[in-house]
């Protein structure tokens, strides 16, 4: 029942005798007239927070979100969420060091979520269905990306997503990682299908610098480990460290971002550290049951079962606790999310207390 459909009538009831009163002590008019929100001195806010897995991930994949989408039965949306930050989920499934799982809050409860498996399995859906993440508005600027390393492949991928036109010069892509020919072919054909122009030859750097608006290469010494700039504003040198596969992919992403910022005429700034993540102490574990971790995920059923173990730290997965617990029915449920009606919310904080994943926070009222 929406408030609009209720009839508001302010009526004055005069009690001259007991006959003017009902038998039961009930209000004569609507209680909605009394806007109890004015009593509040703190307000609950729905605020998405970072999860430790997300902060630990070099690529900053929004893990809570893709697991949430997956468990809601939207595997394609989940796959696209992954591809926004991870260009090669099928490779990370095997090669990533999965720092996310080391940081996972669930580890302190029973066992961490099988994030790497979930991400790989979910990512493969995009491969099977030939779907690609959305590209930003094309900038009409053309860059060359040259080299064979995973950082270069990643740079090409992200530069393209940023809206740049990309010519990728590569003679032996993913060199030195021990990938099978099928694996290389699978990834390269996806890059090609996205819209990246792949040229299987090497070119001299001077030539490229002449011809293109900017160049990213993995040949030469890395000058700036945070932005991969060089003294030449058109040239960006990036190289894998080969300590952490995902971190090497991140380097490519970062180099692409620097080029994008340069070509847009924006200042190139290093990435800010992520905001603090939700800690285990912020999770209301009473709402969870210990459940066995699924180490290997091969079916959608297994994926959803494992995904359901996720605390969804800092990310609203529409569990509805706040809606159920609000003693004043001041929380409406709109588009599967809680919406606080501040006309009636007294700021008691029960919703914040009962949010299992710390998405709701209390902030002081001003004035």
């Amino acid at each position: 029942m929406s408030k609009e459909s209720l009839e508001f009538t302010d009526k004055i009831v005069r009690i001259e005798s007991e006959k003017d009163l009902p038998e039961a002590p009930i209000s004569q008019g609507f209680t909605l007239v009394n806007k109890t929100g004015s009593w509040r001195n703190v307000r609950p806010l729905l605020k998405e927070q970072n999860a430790p897995c997300q902060n630990a991930c070099p690529l900053k994949v929004w893990i809570q979100s893709f697991i949430d989408l997956l468990t809601r039965g939207k595997p394609e949306d989940a796959a696209l969420e992954i591809l926004k930050n991870n260009p090669f989920p099928l490779l990370t499934r095997r090669l990533c060091r999965a720092k996310c799982e080391i940081a996972c809050n669930r580890k302190k409860y029973d066992a961490p979520i099988s994030i790497r498996e979930l991400e790989g399995f979910t990512g493969s859906i995009a491969y099977d269905k030939n779907i690609y993440p959305e590209r930003e508005k094309p900038l009409s600027r053309k860059i060359a990306v040259t080299g064979n390393s995973e950082s270069i492949m990643s740079a090409a991928y992200f530069a393209y997503l940023f809206g740049l036109d990309v010519d990728l010069y590569t003679t032996s892509p993913f060199d030195g990682l021990g990938l099978s020919e099928e694996e290389v072919e699978r990834e390269i054909s996806r890059l090609r299908n996205m819209g990246i122009n792949i040229i299987a030859e090497g070119k001299k750097l001077e030539e490229l610098l002449d011809k293109y608006d900017a160049v990213i290469t993995d040949m030469g010494e890395v000058k700036d480990k945070l932005t991969f700039q060089t003294d030449n504003e058109k040239l960006y040198i990036v190289a894998p460290e080969r300590k952490d596969f995902s971190r090497d992919l991140y380097f490519g992403k970062r180099a692409a971002k620097s080029v994008y910022q340069y070509l847009k005429g924006e200042p190139i700034e290093k990435d800010a550290p992520p905001p603090r993540s939700v800690s285990f102490n912020n999770i209301v574990t009473d709402y969870f049951e210990p459940e066995e971790r699924i180490d290997t995920i091969n079916t959608m059923q297994e994926a959803i079962q494992e995904g359901n173990r996720c605390f969804s730290c800092g990310h609203c997965n529409s569990c509805g606790n706040c809606y159920v617990f609000c003693p004043d029915a001041a929380i409406s449920w709109i588009n599967d999310l809680p919406v606080v009606d501040y006309d009636y919310c007294k700021g008691c904080g029960i919703c914040v207390e009962e949010c299992p994943r710390s998405v709701l926070i209390l902030v002081p009222e001003r004035g």
Binding site: M1, L6, L21, P22, A24, P25, S27, F30
Partner: protein
């Protein structure tokens, strides 16, 4: 068709609630009540009664759940005993104040400590001033009948009602009970139509603040409804008697027509008194019995009618108000204050904590009553001194 079934008093109550088509049952187990809701839970689980059974963690919550259900317009039922009833105390006020026609079975059990599970009326009589109607039943048939009757009266006057039966003497003792044809029960007790019900589309607040300018009027209304309830009980009992072939009243006289001496009793021990009175009558003693079926509302008129002009009255109390005397005694004496000429009334305390009350006890009380010249307000019968 109606049929007879051998039932314990507790199961008779369960059948009563089933015949009354209760919609929400919320209860917490306590001896000797437990088997009432135990059977009801089975009846609900088997789908023989379209009701919601709400498990709760205490009697306070059981009554709270009934209050919520009743406020939403459902016919709500619960059952308890002794400490459980005491724990409900706050919500008993709430149910009556909010004018919710909840019906509860209380199996009389002595209050602890010392622990006891046997019958005594102190638990229910302690709830005298909560605004609940109270009916004290004598047999398992009455236990069944009064669930149905209690709802009829409660829903008419918008006050909750408690039927009270004795621990073990009734609760766990089997007797044949006539279970009525459902169509006939439905005819007598149609579905509850709440005067005020919580509806999502029509928000009101229930039990909100009432300032000094209106609180007293709400209390006045409860008292008026209690007074009206006397008439409603008499009318509805008459209808019930006609439909189901019973002989109930707001109070029930036995061999009273020419009785010089009257013994006033309540609950299951009334059957013993009845047998003793019958035997004494055969011996030529002019003695009668007045059964206090209804305690709240107090049946002033009928009590005065039946006790006026008697030589002496003995009031039996399976309860005690410490520092005063038997509770029925004090109530009856107060009701008779305005009656001229003054009737000598003596109060006997007996059967506390489930101690047996025998025919011999009743005959001795009669002999004692005849001999007494001075009014003794508290006479202990059977206490080991």
């Amino acid at each position: 068709m109606s049929f007879k079934k051998v039932l314990t008093g507790n199961h008779a109550v369960s059948y009563g609630a089933t015949s009354a088509r209760v919609q929400v049952i919320s209860a917490y187990p306590i001896t000797p009540q437990t088997t009432i809701v135990e059977l009801l839970s089975e009846i609900v689980a088997e789908g023989k009664l379209d009701a919601i059974f709400v498990n709760v963690e205490s009697e306070h919550s059981a009554m709270s759940a009934c209050i919520g259900a009743s406020a939403a317009g459902a016919r709500a039922f619960t059952a308890t005993s002794a400490q459980g009833l005491a724990l409900m105390h706050e919500m008993l006020h709430w149910a009556a104040g909010a004018r919710l026609p909840i019906v509860m079975a209380n199996v009389n059990r002595a209050m602890a400590p010392p622990w006891s599970i046997w019958t005594e009326q102190n638990d229910s009589l302690s709830q005298r001033d909560t605004g609940w109607m109270q009916f004290y039943v004598e047999s398992n048939q009455e236990a069944y009948d009064y669930v149905i009757l209690a709802y009829k009266v409660a829903e008419k006057v918008l006050l909750p009602a408690m039927l009270v039966l004795d621990a073990f003497v009734l609760s766990h003792t089997s007797e044949p009970v006539e279970i009525y044809d459902q169509d006939k029960v439905d005819e007598f007790l149609p579905p509850y139509e709440p005067k005020y019900a919580i509806e999502p589309g029509k928000p009101i607040s229930y039990g909100a603040l009432s300032k000094p300018d209106t609180y007293m009027e709400f209390r006045y209304k409860i008292q008026r409804s209690m007074e009206e309830a006397v008439k409603v009980i008499e009318e509805e009992t008459a209808k019930f008697n006609e439909m189901f072939g019973r002989n109930y009243g707001i109070v029930e006289p036995y061999m009273m027509d020419d009785a010089d001496y009257v013994i006033v009793s309540s609950g299951a021990m009334t059957s013993t008194v009845r047998a003793a009175v019958h035997e004494m009558r055969e011996e030529g003693k002019k003695v009668g019995l007045l059964k206090m079926k209804t305690f709240r509302p107090f049946p002033f008129e009928k009590v005065r009618e039946y006790l006026s002009g008697r030589k002496k009255v003995a009031v039996l109390d399976r309860n005690i108000s410490f520092g005063h005397h038997g509770i029925f005694y004090e109530e009856i004496k107060s009701a008779m204050y305005s009656v001229e000429p003054r009737v000598p009334i003596h109060g006997y305390i007996l059967g506390l904590g489930g101690r047996d009350v025998t025919k011999q006890d009743i005959k001795e009380i009669y002999d004692d009553l005849i001999k007494r010249e001075e009014i003794s307000e508290i006479i202990w019968k059977g206490v080991k001194l």
